[in-house]
Point group: C2
Chain length 802, copies 2
């Protein structure tokens, strides 16, 4: 339990004194950001008007973050390390901003924040100030890939950054508050998925600050033995640094870091020499007081070392002379006169105490992944065409076709592309990728194991949180990825999606942040095909969640078959700075479009399927729209029924791939003009719309359109259980019979003539449902349904459909 | 690492033979459910038509679940334990169904499923069959509180069930797949929140089945030492049972269980004698083959003990003679002729091997909480009235007023009510509850700790997942609770909400499931008041997520002030079988309604605020609607501006508390008729609607209304950062100036006369924004704004507003 057993020689005390000065400077600058509007160097007495009117920010964790930063800098310089710093307790935003300013990066990035008194004044003023920078670590913070708002993702982000970056060190501070979250607790297991020979190193630093907002933390209040068991159980060798005396803590932390980096060197050396045993990676436990070096007591109450130090230790510095005196005393305790010269710049011994250029953690290009990203080497997706001689006759598993494309994307990009899935890669029919790589796995293997290897590039753990965090870290450091997931369970990462989308939105307004690869989701095993799993696995609402975010970062695609899926996936994999959501089935299903047709259809995002329509280019009686594979199938089957029963009916079939096309141009860049929309959907004819998800979304996207009152949407109504695929449609009235009945009910001129057809359809519904309940499967005529060209009046058009 | 050191004497072998017979019977019935349509007792040769056409269900985990069930029954009988069984691997749904049938509960619950051959045939047929029961553990499963679809919540549900049930044992099986999830990983820490003297006992059983869908599990592939460290690190004393030989495994598991229950007895005894040291609760690690006792090899490939046993071990039993022969051999290997009598009932030695009555885990009333629930002893919420002499003049922190009510709900229900929060109880201003109880905490305490005690009833851990799981478990076992959370981070449990709402929806159709208390969310620290935390903490979309679920289980309230919040909270706390979402601010804010007015307003759910309107009961020029505290404030301020500038303008102010009132009656039971809606909102006048969340939701709820085309919604547009409260409104165009300008732009008769007013308002916006950016705070005239009655033409109406 003590690093001392293998401790290297003590670090030179003079050097540690300089580190202490740097730390004091960073702490001074942190407190200044929280409290000061002006008088940054305290060269005048501190007056009320120097204090911010609203005191925002989190002091409690900041001195610890700064302490670690200072020591990492020593190691980086001594060992020429390539290091980024992931700060789980990102509420301590003033810390990395202070460090970046001391390292010069801040001024390089934001030239108006100069390294002098005026720059320091601006640095302080802008923090948590309207028009300034956020209070947490954020995209605005140089050197960060990790927003400090929602807790839980420090380790998974860190591992994502480390994959395929063999020489990178990712120092990851885990706050003891964050450590209580589920996503963080799960992500400790990430070390079973690291290949020491080909991946970088994550150095976890568990910061036992002791308190959350108002409570002690669990890990700070279990016995040292229990904690040591836990961390060894996570597969680490922990080293402990505990105390509050800076001098001792500097010595101890420096030695602990040296020990860790020595061990890491040894692990990497062994791995490169072929040692395949999973290493027990070193980590550090830093136990230091919350709000360390801050005011000990305020208003008679202990602050340092308690939850009272979590945010601002006292809030009346502007109004209350005593508080203001405490603030001044606190700031002066860092001895700013020793740290900053007459101009307000850091004195040389402080200013020089950091690595140079891109070795500075605040300037490491890995933390601005768009600087490093390379285009994927993409095969021509047209080569993966699923042959379609005629629409709606042959079947294929669409995602299986995609798997072959992904296999070749993988083999062309074996150092910058990975696929991610919560134990569903093969279930989702993407197993072709295992032809060229394995699943990442550095835990024990036994005979009979299937495609497990430390160098595997298929990332599977049964934690959507860990998967999402890994992928985000991988993308933010300039690589590419693809996440396949059961549709219902992607909600597990709703809040992580939120944070990533917000990161992208903010980054779009930051010129120095370069665009990164899009986060690509394939949602499959979707709501309509949960034959095995039933109601708990049915939820198509992630789309609804996604479209609440800024339209310039979200895209939603519902390709109805394999070739459209391939075209969409190619587009998404090449794109930047989006979250792309693709929803597609994995079950054998009818194929409709040739590759040439698919490309044209996907390029326009939606369009009339003339081969399925019976309006012959005239004004239709009804528009039957569809989005999603199952709704498309049922729509075509309904058309087929109606065509046979009511040959004069003029039906226009519109298929939608790119859902955002339905919105108007003001709401989304992909949106159609009203003229385009009206030309497709008419302004006065009924539109029976079969949609993959909750019907309200289609209304939400189209409520401004002239013909919106004529739109009747069928979709998931939260009805379901373990039953047959067709019965699922019936339960939710998305099936061909309900759709056809709806058409009859909506087309005025049919009302008097089609009573018997309506009756037949209703009887068919009853007959099918009875058969399903009796036989446990769908009638052969449903299961075997194909699009019958013979019924058509006109031949297939020579031109591809538009 | 071995329980043997303290092992009690071996269990009688004859008894274990009977347990083995019971286990074989449960396994036989499980396989039958997955595969058989008919010929349940194999009294004829197995023919294709006896096999289900679609083979659904998960065999892999089922024999382990049955094994544990059999052994728990022995302990329950020997020790007269009150026990429920939480099966994390709930995909193994056939297991508990088989057990319930053997125990007689199934027939008591579903009388058509008799304990004979015909009943067995029906039992088999209904499983995963259209019109039958789901493939997973579900509300339909007697004895369950835990849906087996989405993994991760076994332990948190178990602890929720154990709180305040001092004599209850909750045996909780954690699958090694589930153990990889974030929520499960976090929930191990729950043992720091259990009071051994007053709470029940959770006995975790980690089932190392070895495989997930397609991969080995992490915990099965770390070294035994690492696993032992991990479990001790979680605060447990683990006992290990490992092997595949049933005879040995029966002996070992029986002894391990005896050891655990002896230790639990000792822990409870010590605790009741005042020992306050946190116990290291025993737990069991069961390492057994996946698909244990199933076919070893199929088609030349190993099945038992591999991922191939996860679902159905082979799928062609109907079509393929060889597979069918394997099935028959497998079923016969359980020797059904020894287990079931001529009639098909279990033979006495099997039939009697279970506890009686409500001691049967399948019939324990704790697993049907509505049987046990008692109404809360509720104080009269009117007593907590915040005095309001005149609307919009005095301020209060609304949630602080609620805290006082919750305090007294707590003190009246000290064994059946708890409040839950992820470390935000005090931040959310509910600290009054700490006057009568403490925070639950059984880890180390030190001087200066604030309200921590093992018997505390304020449940705080920094894991929304654990909080939600505890609360669900607490409610499902018949108690009451209240969850307060930062609004943005409730998305962390989106998927858990989904599953709970689905449980309620399904339970509503199951007569024997009695209604339980509603799950009450207070979402505060909401999007408009993230002054500290900025963009990452801004997301009002949980409401959008919630309304996708069945309307008969979801309710959404946006009380604008303290008295409306109290009225709404009283209603929610008394309700059953809903998820209630209350969104309310915690910051000081203007108060509008007296308690009497608030009750009337909340009872109707929405209504005209006549005191704020200027239409004097006539046809208005414009309706200004508002929902949420900040939108209400800005709407009233806009009315005030417009009233001064355009005294002839007839404004009707409509405030919405119960959001579901906006829907039509077909869509939600609270929905208004079109006539009611039209009478409030008109069919032809512009409606400027200030809404708390994403504007699209209001369109979604109202798109069918006649006047929908006139509705102009202001809400959160995903714009924000760390800035002032008013600036947040301006960024999203929800502020008084934007609202007033929108009124001017929408009311036709103002277009020609109000150019100067519009100009003034635009200039005011510029002036305010400049002030904010210069001074870091809002102009005093914004911060200090109150509703000025003096401007009104008419006195406050004598009658309360409707």
């Amino acid at each position: 339990m003590n690093y001392a057993t293998s401790a290297p020689a003590a670090v030179d005390q003079d050097y540690l004194d300089r580190i202490d000065a740097w730390w004091r400077a960073a702490n001074y600058l942190s407190v200044g950001q929280i409290y000061l509007l002006d008088n940054p160097l305290l060269r005048e007495p501190l007056l009320p008007e120097h204090i911010k009117p609203r005191l925002l920010g989190h002091w409690g964790t900041t001195p610890g973050l700064n302490f670690i930063y200072a020591h990492l800098n020593r190691a980086i310089m001594e060992r020429d390390l390539d290091t980024i710093y992931v700060m789980g307790p990102g509420h301590g935003g003033p810390g990395p901003v202070a460090a970046a300013w001391l390292e010069g990066t801040y001024t390089e990035t934001y030239p108006d924040i100069t390294q002098d008194a005026e720059g320091m004044r601006r640095l302080f003023r802008q923090f948590s100030f309207p028009g300034g920078i956020p209070s947490h670590v954020a995209p605005e913070t140089p050197g960060s890939i990790h927003e400090g708002g929602e807790l839980g993702y420090a380790l998974s982000h860190a591992y994502g950054a480390a994959f395929d970056n063999p020489d990178l060190i990712v120092a990851a501070v885990v706050g003891d508050g964050e450590a209580e979250t589920g996503p963080l607790a799960a992500s400790w297991q990430s070390n079973k998925f690291v290949n020491p020979a080909r991946d970088g190193t994550v150095l976890p630093i568990l910061h036992l600050n002791g308190y959350k907002i108002a409570n002690p933390t669990v890990l700070a209040r279990i016995s040292p033995e229990e904690l040591d068991h836990l961390l060894r159980g996570f597969g680490h060798t922990p080293f402990y640094v505990e105390g509050d005396d800076p001098e001792q803590m500097h010595q101890d932390f420096a030695r602990a870091l040296d020990t860790c980096f020595d061990e890491i060197d040894e692990i990497k050396r062994r791995a490169r020499n072929g040692d395949t045993e999973r290493p027990r990676w070193p980590m550090i436990v830093l136990r230091s007081p919350k709000g360390w070096t801050g005011p000990k007591v305020v208003d008679g109450k202990q602050v340092e070392g308690t939850w009272r130090a979590h945010q601002v230790p006292f809030s009346q510095a502007r109004e209350n002379d005593e508080h203001r005196a405490i603030l001044e005393q606190w700031l002066r305790s860092y001895r700013p006169e020793e740290l900053f010269d007459d101009a307000g710049a850091p004195v040389p011994s402080v200013a020089e105490l950091h690595p140079s250029g891109s070795r500075r953690m605040s300037a490491n290009p890995h933390a601005n992944g768009g600087l490093l990203i390379k285009d994927l080497v993409m095969p021509d997706f047209r080569r993966y065409e699923v042959p379609v001689a005629s629409p709606g006759v042959s079947t294929a598993e669409s995602t299986r076709a995609l798997g072959v494309l992904l296999r070749d994307v993988m083999s062309g990009n074996m150092d910058s592309f990975r696929v991610f899935s919560p134990d569903e890669n093969n279930s989702n029919r993407l197993d072709a990728v295992l032809d060229v790589t394995n699943r990442a796995w550095n835990a024990t293997t036994i005979d009979g194991d299937d495609h497990l290897a430390p160098e595997g590039r298929v990332m599977e753990i049964l934690s959507e949180h860990t998967i999402q965090g890994w992928l985000e870290g991988y993308l933010l450091t300039g690589r590419h990825g693809f996440f396949s997931c059961y549709e219902a369970f992607i909600h597990i990462v709703d809040s992580m999606f939120n944070q990533h989308a917000k990161w992208l939105t903010t980054a779009n307004d930051i010129p120095w942040r370069r665009p990164i690869a899009s986060l690509n989701y394939l949602l499959t095993s979707h709501v309509w095909r949960q034959d095995h799993n039933g109601f708990s696995h049915q939820d198509p609402g992630f789309i609804d969640h996604v479209v609440n975010k800024k339209s310039d970062v979200v895209r939603v695609y519902l390709p109805p078959d394999a070739n459209t899926l391939l075209s969409v996936a190619d587009h998404c994999l090449r794109s930047r700075q989006y979250v792309n959501v693709i929803v597609a089935g994995k079950q054998p299903e009818l194929q409709f479009l040739t590759m040439e047709q698919a490309i044209e259809h996907c390029t326009s995002g939606l369009g009339v399927w003339e081969w399925a329509s019976t309006d012959a280019g005239e004004e239709p009686d009804v528009v039957m729209a569809c989005a999603g594979d199952v709704p498309t199938l049922e729509t075509l089957a309904a058309v087929s029924i109606l065509r046979a029963a009511l040959p004069d009916l003029r039906i226009r079939v519109v298929n939608v791939v790119d859902l955002m096309r339905l919105q108007d141009r003001r709401a989304h860049p992909h949106g159609m003009s009203d003229d385009e929309f009206d030309a497709l959907f008419t302004t006065d004819k009924p539109v029976v719309f079969a949609y993959h998800g909750y019907p309200s979304l289609i209304h939400r996207l189209t409520y401004r359109r002239a013909g919106h009152g004529n739109l009747h949407v069928h979709g998931y109504r939260e009805e379901g259980t373990t039953t047959t695929p067709f019965d699922m449609c019936v339960l939710n009235e998305l099936d061909r019979f309900h759709l056809a009945i709806d058409v009859i009910d909506r087309v005025p001129r049919l009302r008097d003539v089609s009573g018997h057809v309506r009756q037949d359809l209703t009887e068919a519904l009853v007959r099918h449902s009875a058969y399903i309940r009796e036989n446990g499967q769908d009638l052969p005529e449903i299961r075997g349904w194909t699009w019958d060209e013979g019924d058509r009046e006109r031949p297939l058009p020579a031109d591809p459909p538009t």
